[in-house]
């Protein structure tokens, strides 16, 4: 409890610094990653992250220190080397990008682990903490580290905002950008450089292994909330920052916990929640509309039963008991009960003892559905030249989705037909 309080109050300047630094790392990685996501280069980010490890190790072996400038320089160089090799493999062999990415990722990472193991067994006292690059340990950052990394993070944000328009066009339609004379190659190199830099500093927070998540997951989640690019990038950045905040909190309260996995956990929770809850694109929204559609179909089908029975007996107002109703349409009893209850609530049917009676309002609605059904049959028969015995099943589905505008158009195009292809009367209002 005391720790939580210490953390949240930011009374410890050291905590303040670590948290702020981690948040800038999370935000800038998410920002850069949004463009990798839009350009469908998600896996390239992963390859770069792994390709950086040997660079970090080599630069430590040569300099013997953990100076952040030198480590970033090494990381940057081996990250870029990995990128160039991925390109070269695709150009000179017939291997496709997924294979090239897979090769570079595993070869560089393997090499990095070898070097790291070598360093650790060397007994060099300064090496302590180098293995934090695997899973990230925000708290292990020194004051200088944080200044350098946060500075680079801010620089990334400024560059992205400056070239926002150009990056947008290059991500959407690079050929067009080339034709109007934009330096597309240069912009692509700039974007790649930003990605390598973001990875080089981001691994402090989440580590090599999980860096791809910090690049790609925020944008993937943000995409569910909006169709506007600017807003999407903003949301992704906020997701990145929040997760970094929460992740560094956990590793502050429980110092044995690595920061990276926790940041990624929080990111994943945010993203899964986005996939589920986001309006329109979210799964729960889609399930909800599906359920609403099912309900609409059910009650409309029941109203039709009342209409058909009334049509046959020439008495629409007559009460029907559940057995009669069930005989006319094969639906399960609980469907009948649920549907009738819903109709009762909407005042489209009423109940008298064990009999159900369609109300005036219900009859109008039932007429509308039957009308749409028969109009559609007519349309299929006349326009698509389908035989009368082929049109019913199609109309059973289409009757539920035709809008009033489409209905008017149908009536006009068919010149207000009186009877459908089966010679049944088409019921018009009044």
């Amino acid at each position: 409890m005391q720790e939580t309080f210490d953390f949240l109050s930011f009374s410890d300047p050291n905590v303040r610094l670590v948290v702020l630094g981690t948040m800038i790392l999370g935000a800038s990685s998410a920002l850069v990653g949004a463009f990798a996501f839009l350009r469908k280069r998600a896996l390239v980010g992963d390859a770069i992250a792994h390709a950086i490890l040997p660079g970090v190790c080599l630069s430590f072996m040569i300099s013997g220190s953990k100076n952040p400038f030198l480590l970033i320089l090494g990381a940057f160089m081996s990250g870029w080397l990995g990128l160039l090799l991925i390109d070269a493999i695709q150009r000179t062999t017939k291997l496709k990008s997924d294979a090239a990415i897979g090769i570079i990722l595993s070869v560089f990472f393997g090499l990095g682990i070898l070097l790291l193991t070598g360093i650790q067994h060397n007994g060099n006292a300064a090496q302590a903490g180098l293995d934090k690059f695997l899973f990230g340990q925000a708290a292990a950052m020194s004051r200088l580290d944080i200044y350098v990394f946060a500075g680079i993070g801010l620089l990334l944000m400024i560059v992205i905002l400056t070239f926002y328009k150009a990056f947008k066009l290059v991500s959407f339609n690079p050929d067009y950008a080339k034709v109007i004379g934009l330096p597309v190659k240069g912009l692509e190199i700039l974007l790649s450089t930003l990605t390598v830099l973001a990875v080089a500093v981001g691994i402090q927070a989440v580590g090599v292994v999980l860096m791809a998540a910090l690049l790609i997951t925020p944008a993937s989640g943000a995409r569910f909330w909006t169709d506007k690019l600017g807003l999407m990038i903003f949301i992704a950045t906020v997701f990145g920052a929040i997760s970094a905040f929460l992740g560094s909190y956990v590793s502050y309260v429980a110092p044995s916990m690595p920061t990276g996995p926790w940041v990624v956990m929080f990111l994943s929770i945010i993203t899964v929640a986005s996939i589920w809850f986001a309006p329109k694109r979210g799964l729960s929204y889609r399930l909800k509309t599906q359920r609403a559609n099912k309900r609409k179909i059910l009650i409309e089908n029941i109203l039709k039963v009342f209409y058909h029975l009334g049509e046959k007996s020439e008495d629409f107002e007559k009460g029907r008991n559940i057995e009669q109703l069930m005989k006319s349409r094969g639906m399960r009893e609980e469907e009948w009960n649920g549907g009738l209850k819903r109709l009762l609530r909407k005042n489209l049917v009423r109940r008298k003892a064990d009999r159900w009676i369609i109300t005036q309002q219900g009859l109008i609605e039932a007429q509308r559905i039957v009308r749409l059904h028969r109009l559609w049959e007519m349309y299929l028969n006349q326009r698509l030249k389908l035989e009368p015995d082929h049109v019913h099943n199609d109309a059973e589905a289409i009757e539920h989705i035709i809008t009033p505008e489409l209905e008017k158009q149908l009536e006009k195009e068919l010149d207000h037909p009186i009877r459908d292809p089966h010679k049944s009367k088409i019921p018009y209002a009044n």
């Binding site: 339609n173 080339k178 109007i180 004379g181």
Partner: protein, 262 residues
């Protein structure tokens, strides 16, 4: 043709993919102020020719001049309408966002767009009858509407030479008519329009000039000179056997198309 009247000149243009030439020694000049159709059977290199003209694919030999100048000098006077399927329409952007891209320039790429840019984009949307959709997300458009958005983007650019790749493919009748009206308007305004098109039937009605292509140039000229039985037979009667076999060999053996080039 005087060089001042030439819109595009290609000289001995050869383009290869994986060393196999897909265009052989294309050599022609087409005039300004006309609507020019590039036609030929599937796989005849129509799109590749467009890309070569715009510098989007490397040339194995030859050169291209536009308005009698090097391509790089006149880029801002050239506008490109790519095939619809070449972009991801699920990209987070509105119709207006895409049309505004037509106002991007090398010179304003780190600046904000001006009010004039927005007005020109609005005007372009109006010309293709899409103004009411300006805030719509592009993934919600029909194929014909997507095509019109691309054309509006190109119009917003205010170029002199318009290069369109298959604008009539998969569009509704309303879009087709809108595009045709635009073409004749552009011609009146003295613009040059080059259109890749695969349908012989309609080509006769749409274009003034025709470039007839089948991996090599079959014929180029005003349409009444081109639409005759023997030329069409030559273009659509299949590839030249020896030519495509030599192409296969070059790919297989890795030979260059010119002895003294890389």
């Amino acid at each position: 043709m005087k060089s001042s009247q030439i819109a595009i000149e290609t000289h001995n243009l050869t383009v290869s993919y994986n060393r196999r030439p897909v265009l052989w020694n294309i050599d022609f000049s087409i005039p300004q102020g006309q609507i020019i159709g590039i036609i030929g059977p599937n796989g005849s290199g129509k799109t590749t020719l467009l890309k070569a003209i715009m510098g989007l694919v490397p040339l194995s030999s030859g050169y291209v001049k536009v308005f009698d100048q090097e391509l790089e000098e006149v880029r801002e006077r050239i506008s490109y309408v790519p095939q619809r399927e070449t972009v991801d329409w699920d990209f987070p952007a509105s119709v207006m966002d895409v049309v505004l891209m037509g106002r991007y320039r090398k010179g304003n790429i780190i600046k904000r767009l001006s009010k004039l840019d927005r007005e020109l984009a609005t005007e372009a949307l109006e010309k293709v009858n899409m103004l009411e959709y300006s805030q719509r997300q592009i993934s919600q458009l029909s194929g014909g509407q997507q095509q019109r958005v691309f054309i509006a983007r190109s119009l917003a650019q205010g170029a002199d030479l318009y290069i369109m790749d298959e604008p009539f493919v998969g569009v509704d009748a309303a879009t087709e008519e809108a595009i045709l009206n635009l073409l004749s308007e552009m011609k009146k305004a003295g613009k040059t329009v080059v259109v890749v098109h695969h349908d012989l039937q309609t080509a006769k009605d749409y274009f003034d000039w025709i470039v007839l292509l089948n991996t090599r140039l079959v014929a180029v000229g005003p349409k009444k000179e081109i639409f005759n039985e023997s030329l069409l037979q030559e273009a659509y009667g299949g590839k030249l056997n020896v030519l495509s076999k030599v192409g296969d060999l070059m790919k297989e053996k890795g030979f260059p198309i010119r002895e003294n080039r890389k």
